[in-house]
Amino acid sequence: MNDEIILSARGLHKSFHKDRNEVPVLRGLDLEVTPGVVTALVGRSGSGKSTLMHLLASLDQPDRGEIYFGNERIDNASRPRRDFYRNREIGIIFQFYHLLPELSAVENVLAPMMIGQSAWSYFRHRKEARLRAEAMLDRVGLLHRATHRPAEMSGGEMQRAAIARALMTDPRLLLADEPTGNLDTETGLDILKLLTELNQLDGLSILMITHDDSIAAGADVCHRMQDGQLQINPAQPNFQVADNRIPA
């Protein structure tokens, strides 16, 4: 493992305003993601996990606080820099997959490549890109579904396609917001297995939000979110697992 921290948040504050009421979601949250490990983030619904995820992915901006990718501050970087950050340096997976319904599985996997490159350079490298996309699909075990539309795939298959898409641009960090939240336990565990495999074989860092303690149990580090802050127990990563494991 590397000592360097891949992603860190310092003193993040974020609150939403609804009808003149201020709803504080994050209150001075600190987070460090170590490279090469699977970090799980658990917390009650509404505790602000997704909000944190969006801030980390620079899809939204914190009210206060700083987010660093490596040593570079990312939360107030320029738009093109943040677009590049999302496109190349991290991969994002959602609970509801968010595949583009008009595109086939392989085209969805190609999407980040198309977005990141100019039409001309994509056109020149389209063969390699396609090969890589197919390799990614193969990696997640979905090659036989390459030409299927999302509407023709099951939830687990769609999530695999989404993972393949997230891996397309070879990111260093994968942000996953409840990747198994919409799947049954077994499929969820399959997805988890895929993610841990990626972590072990490629050294990919993963920050994963989950409700499911059995999923969290598979992580190297587990953080719990409460009152807009993290309760960290790095010494015993799987401290929650023993009580709440679902009987198999």
Binding site: L59, R79, D83, N87, F94, H98, L100, P101, A119, R165
Partner: protein
């Protein structure tokens, strides 16, 4: 890249958007059809208007005309220089036309033009509008043997052959009449034999349709000849016209001075019981007609002159066809006394000029006006456009207004596109969020919808272009189908001399229409595209 992929996919899966550009398609198609037809019409009209007049016309308002046209021509030639490629001098005089038909005198007022057959064709397309093919090549004021309007099936026989038959028929009729009168004088009983002889006389002369010198009529007009034809001066003129020439003139072999009549001055167009268009001619090449016009003397008198119709003039412009008659310049000058007895110079009333292609006619006109100021010369100097100014301006105005209206229709279609695009942007909210999460920039997202608008614009106006061109190329068939369905003739040939709808497709017009339609579609997609670009990615991702 993803922009094009996505907008192609959206185009294929979102048929509602295609529906929203149908109005663009229709607008473009209509614009193309209207513009081609209007261009066809105005080109045809320009052609015809220009065909009957020279580029520049110098008219002398005085009844005696301008003396010494040669000096004028020399001066004009000096002014215009090498731009002058043709000119002709002519005499225009208002006249009354009298056609004797069926014992009645059919009259009409016409502009009698005395023209020089050699030069008149240089300035205008006069010959082209004549019926006889040889006259179309070189105008002649001598009656031809026959063969007028060979392409028209319905055209009755005309020319010398017709004239001989007619004269013979008239003579036979007169002889018969004399015989009957003599018989009547003897006894009033045998009226039956009379009608029999008439019936046998009719077919034997073989007159075709004009045989309506008909049996029952003849007796009638004979008795009624007094009141119907013999109106004071009319009969007087008739009388001396005939006595003057009767002794030596044999209409079977000789002709009066030739005249070419505008076709509408001597014919009527109507529909028969089967709704077929039919022309009926009161005068044909070979018939003799009468012209009455003022002479050029100070003490104006009416000249009454017989002419033989040698051809008919059909330009397709009813105002010309119904108001012009042409004869030889030298003859008209003689009849009107426009020859100076001392010097022998001949006056003319009008000089027409033909300028080289591309000459600025208005400039030439202005120079000529400066040279011949109205204070000094009673000349009216005009270009052919000036003469037809109101008509041409009306057509231009009409075209412009139609274009504006139709572009408004496309603009309305633009609002349809706007609304549809907003709906699509709302529907695609989550996808927009996804694209942004994958690193797409606001500009990139915006360009998806802009190129979608562009593509729709191209598809819509392309379909419109195709449809419009197809419509234009089959417009006459379509018109006939419409005629069949509605029973209403699109181009009533009794009103228009067009039998086909003229169309001209200008590539520039097509380009403008296409560019306009595509621009409107793109403009309509700007607002939705901006909304998509500005969309907050988090809100978009949370959108259900």
């Amino acid at each position: 890249m993803y922009r094009w992929l996505l907008c192609f996919r959206y185009l294929r899966t979102r048929y509602i958007a295609l529906a929203s550009i149908i109005s663009v398609t229709l607008g473009v198609a209509t614009l193309i059809v209207v513009n081609s037809v209007m261009a066809g019409f105005s080109a045809e009209m320009h052609d015809r208007l220009h065909g009957v007049a020279g580029d520049i016309m110098i008219e002398c308002q005085a009844s005696g005309g301008m003396p010494d046209p040669d000096a004028h021509l020399a001066e004009i030639r000096r002014i215009c220089g090498k731009d002058l490629v043709g000119f002709t001098a002519s005499v225009h005089v208002p006249a009354m036309l009298g056609i004797e038909y069926n014992g009645q005198l059919i009259t009409g007022h016409v502009n009698l033009v005395g023209l020089d057959p050699k030069t008149f064709d240089q300035v205008s397309q006069f010959g082209r509008h004549l019926l006889h093919p040889e006259n179309q090549e070189q105008v002649s004021f001598d009656l031809r043997e026959g063969g007028y309007a060979p392409e028209r099936v319905q055209f009755p026989p005309a020319g010398w052959s017709y004239r001989r038959v007619k004269v013979e028929y008239e003579r036979a009729l007169a002889a018969e009449q004399a015989r009957i009168d003599a018989m009547r004088a003897r006894t009033d009983t045998e009226s039956t034999t009379v009608s029999e002889t008439f019936e046998s006389a009719g077919p034997s002369v073989n007159f075709g349709p004009t045989v309506n010198f008909g049996s029952s009529n003849t007796t009638e007009t004979d008795t009624a000849s007094g009141p119907s034809v013999g109106i004071g001066p009319g009969s007087e003129l008739f009388a001396d016209g005939e006595t003057a020439t009767a002794q030596k003139f044999d209409p079977k072999t000789e002709q009066f001075p030739g005249i070419i009549l505008g076709i509408a001055t001597c014919s009527v167009r109507h529909r028969d019981a089967n709704n077929q268009v039919q022309d009926f001619y009161y005068g044909l090449p070979g018939d003799d007609v009468r012209m009455m016009f003022p002479n050029a003397a100070e003490n104006t008198k009416v000249v009454n002159q017989k002419f033989t119709v040698v051809d008919l003039y059909e330009s397709g412009m009813s105002e010309y066809d119904g108001s012009f008659a042409f004869c030889r310049l030298d003859q008209l000058q003689e009849f009107r006394g426009m020859i100076d007895p001392q010097s022998g110079t001949r006056s003319v009333t009008t000089i027409q000029l033909k300028m080289a292609e591309g000459t600025n006619l208005a400039a030439v006109r202005d120079t000529l006006r400066r040279r011949f100021p109205p204070q000094q010369y009673a000349y009216n100097i005009q270009t052919w456009r000036d003469m037809q100014g109101p008509l041409l301006a009306a057509v231009r105005l009409e075209t412009m207004i139609l274009n504006i209206l139709l572009f408004l229709i496309i603009a309305v279609a633009g609002f349809g596109i706007l609304a549809t695009f907003f709906m699509i942007v709302v529907e695609k909210t989550r996808d927009i969020g996804t694209l942004k999460a994958l690193g797409a920039s606001g500009k990139g997202v915006m360009s998806i919808f802009l190129s979608y608008g562009l593509l729709l614009g191209f598809v819509g106006s392309g379909a419109g272009l195709l449809g419009g061109l197809l419509f234009v190329s089959n417009i006459n068939e379509i018109a006939s189908v419409i005629e069949k369905i509605t029973g209403q003739e699109v181009f009533d040939p009794t009103v228009y001399y067009f039998s086909e709808i003229p169309t001209i497709v200008h590539p520039w017009t097509l380009a403008w229409v296409m560019a306009g339609a595509v621009t409107i579609a793109v403009i309509a997609s700007v607002l939705p595209a901006m909304r998509a670009a500005r969309m907050n990615p988090v809100r978009a991702l949370r959108f259900e």
